[in-house]
Amino acid sequence: MKKLFTILALIASFIAILFSVLPISNLAIFPGLAALIFGGFAFYLSKKTGEVKKILHFAFLLTIMALLLTSYKAFFTKTQVENIEVLEAKEIQFEEEAIEELEELDIEEIEIEAEEINDIQVETIENAPAEIKSKNITVDELENLDLGN
């Protein structure tokens, strides 16, 4: 049992150190915690028998290094985008090409817009009579109306 926990702690600590140097360093916390738990059990069992193997110290050392590196990267490394010059150049090139192609498009297609706007306006006008009906007009208001001549 002691041997099994030691091996598991060692494997987990290796995974933790591997993750910590990769861009997925945040995920190193999972194998790191697993290494500490397995290592803790192995240490407890070893203490019982009175013999703690050096390999277990090594596993702890690796785990602590991995967790320190992960913490450093999480707090002090700035995530930023670099080397986008090619992408920016492409954007300009594509826009120039696109404008050339758009010039060739049939103008009728763009006129669709006007028809759709008219549909929406009609809908608004339809609501108007109902609003007028509900309006209360007094006799005084009608008498004061300016009807021209």
Binding site: V81, L87, E103, E108, I112
Partner: protein, 257 residues
């Protein structure tokens, strides 16, 4: 039963068309997002996604250019470099696309797709380019109202969620890799969430696809749009085999309202 369903689908599509006037965004808008991988609450930032709008003038019309760029953070570049560019030239008021360009540059993979929409004939001229000067031309017949992926994404912001009942669905047809894909958006409910631009009341939507693996499942991908006139996407959550993918807004500028 089939007739009733067809009628409902027709009504939904029809109402979408009538209400489809853009009051949510205009040229000059810039939204910056971070795409992350979330495993048991531990976030790993992968890429930055920018969504920008600008005005493009031709001799006949003034169009709106919708642009989305995705670039991996520098720490990822030596492992897996992504430099993707998606753009659409659309009618500013109803988001009808005229031209779409998708330039995918991911690691050693490269693909460029260009669609030129002819909305009067419901056809699309497609040009696909790959590595080693591979070029493929196609003419595709599409259904009326079919959009490309970027104009569909922006079109979500045009819809009127105020008067939408919880659970109501909107159907889309998206042209992706020369195939029409049926997409469905379900309005779930209003939610208040913390975002990179403050605490916002949002419309929570479930997005899915009935076909292909573009968006798997119907209730495993969610997006949150601000419940204001701008309806900007502030948060997205997508199911992936291990963990979840997240899209979080970092900053927003040039908003219309």
């Amino acid at each position: 039963m089939v007739r009733i369903i067809s009628l409902l689908v027709f009504l939904v599509t029809f109402s979408t068309k009538v209400n489809a006037q853009n009051k949510a965004f205009t040229a000059g808008e810039k939204l910056i997002y971070t795409a992350s991988y979330n495993m048991s609450g531990v976030l790993t930032e992968i890429a930055q996604i920018n969504m920008e709008t600008s005005e493009v003038k031709t001799s006949k019309a003034t169009l709106l250019k919708l642009k989305l760029t995705a670039a991996t953070y520098s720490k990822w570049d030596s492992f897996f470099k992504i430099r993707d560019l998606y753009e659409s030239y659309v009618n500013p008021s109803n988001i009808t696309p005229y031209l779409h360009n998708r330039d995918v540059n991911e690691g050693s993979y490269y693909k460029n797709m260009k669609y030129t929409f002819s909305n009067s004939t419901n056809t699309v001229k497609s040009v696909m380019k790959k590595k080693n000067d591979y070029v493929e031309n196609n003419n595709i017949k599409i259904n009326s109202g079919t959009k490309d992926i970027i104009s569909s994404l922006y079109y979500l912001r045009v819809l009127d969620y105020k008067n939408m009942a919880e659970g109501s669905k909107k159907y889309f047809t998206i042209l992706f890799d020369n195939e029409e894909v049926k997409g469905v958006v379900t309005f779930l409910r209003k939610e208040t969430i913390n975002t990179g631009i403050g605490k916002k009341e949002c419309y929570k939507l479930a997005v899915g696809s009935s076909e292909t693996n573009v968006l798997q499942g119907t209730n495993s991908n969610f997006i949150w749009l601000t419940a204001d006139e701008n309806k900007i996407i502030v948060y997205g959550k997508f199911k992936i085999p291990v963990g979840t993918g997240e899209l979080k807004i970092k900053s927003a500028s040039g908003l219309k309202n």
